[in-house]
């Protein structure tokens, strides 16, 4: 879902650059206050995971593929502020080193794939302190909503830039974009739930901090 620069008008990428810049600034100052030692490796590993997983396009319908976005997943496991910071790093590397997503379009792409889904993911994060079916359902549904919200925003940015063809109405464009992304979103939801569950089983303390004293203390090497 990376937008190429050539489809965005200067006022669009400029505005979104400013919006995402502000969001990133806010995220950095909030993260500074909450950083825990155990967040660090998980934060790095999750960023690397999102980068790697985004390379694995899975087929959906007729000659179309999709890949994980990951912003929602990061919001759940790291919280919204670290989620935004991690997603920004992934998108910057993709744009600067792998020509995936335009350089001017970075702000728009960070907003669509980072800020919005990470905030949504952050909203369901606390449900996982006591996992039950509500946590699973909210995470799956939230991830789908995150993808659809992103897809909708992309079309709105293209419309605002005047790069949708004149023969198509905004509603038609949204219909095509969102129907592809509904399928992509369902896969995103499934992967998100599976990864959240896996990480919580393996590294609960890295996600939610210390657990009650009975669990094995980590050796200080």
């Amino acid at each position: 879902m990376h937008i190429a620069s050539k489809f965005l008008a200067p006022e669009v990428w400029g505005t979104m650059g400013a919006v995402s810049g502000l969001a990133l600034g806010g995220a950095l100052s909030m993260a500074r206050r909450k950083m825990d030692d155990r967040n660090v490796p998980l934060m790095g590993v999750m960023g690397a995971f999102v980068f790697a997983a985004q390379m694995v396009n899975f087929p959906i319908l007729a000659g179309t593929s999709g890949h994980l976005g990951g912003g929602f997943l990061l919001g759940v496991l790291l919280g919204p502020s670290l989620g935004i910071i991690v997603m920004t790093s992934v998108l910057v590397v993709q744009a600067l080193v792998f020509q995936d997503g335009g350089v001017e379009a970075l702000g728009a792409n960070i907003f669509v794939m980072g800020v919005v889904p990470s905030l949504l993911g952050g909203a369901v994060r606390s449900l996982w302190r006591r996992p039950g079916w509500i946590a699973y359902a909210a995470t799956f549904a939230g991830a789908v909503v995150g993808v659809l919200a992103g897809a909708t925003l992309v079309i709105l940015f293209l419309d605002w830039s005047g790069t949708l063809p004149q023969s198509v109405s905004l509603v038609q464009a949204l219909g095509v974009m969102d129907s592809f992304h509904l399928f992509i979103g369902l896969v995103e939801g499934g992967i998100t739930v599976a990864v959240v569950r896996f990480v919580l089983e393996a590294r609960r303390e890295a996600v939610f901090g210390a657990v009650p004293a009975t669990s094995a203390a980590e050796g200080k090497a």
Partner: protein
């Protein structure tokens, strides 16, 4: 670094490199949802050239000139993942350094 953190890193890196270095070779080459939408709508109406991406040894997710071979893709996956990891470890270190007052478990 505690054993807990070291294990998180080592196991995490192993999983990620397997996905980025090997799994990504089997990725679908079909256009993604946005590209397909633009194809369907005939939305290929670029309005300007856009700033050129900075020079890179990679051409998309593969080494320049090597195309979509297994190794070229694997190098892209491994280098990209480790680059993101490295950047984040540096960012995390800076974020932690700026708050000297609480929980000084720095070594």
């Amino acid at each position: 670094m505690s054993a807990y953190n070291r294990n998180t890193l080592l196991v995490g890196i192993a999983i990620v490199l397997l996905i980025g270095g090997v799994g990504s070779y089997f990725a679908s080459g079909d256009p993604d949802g946005l590209e397909k939408t633009q194809e369907e709508l005939g939305a290929d109406q670029p309005i300007h050239e856009g700033v050129e991406s900075p020079p890179s040894v990679f051409d998309g997710y593969g080494l320049k000139g090597l195309g979509a071979s297994f190794w070229s893709n694997a190098v892209a996956g491994v280098v990209g993942s480790l680059l993101v990891l490295g950047i984040l470890l540096v960012v995390a270190r800076i974020l932690k350094r700026r708050l000297p007052q609480q929980g000084s478990d720095r070594t």
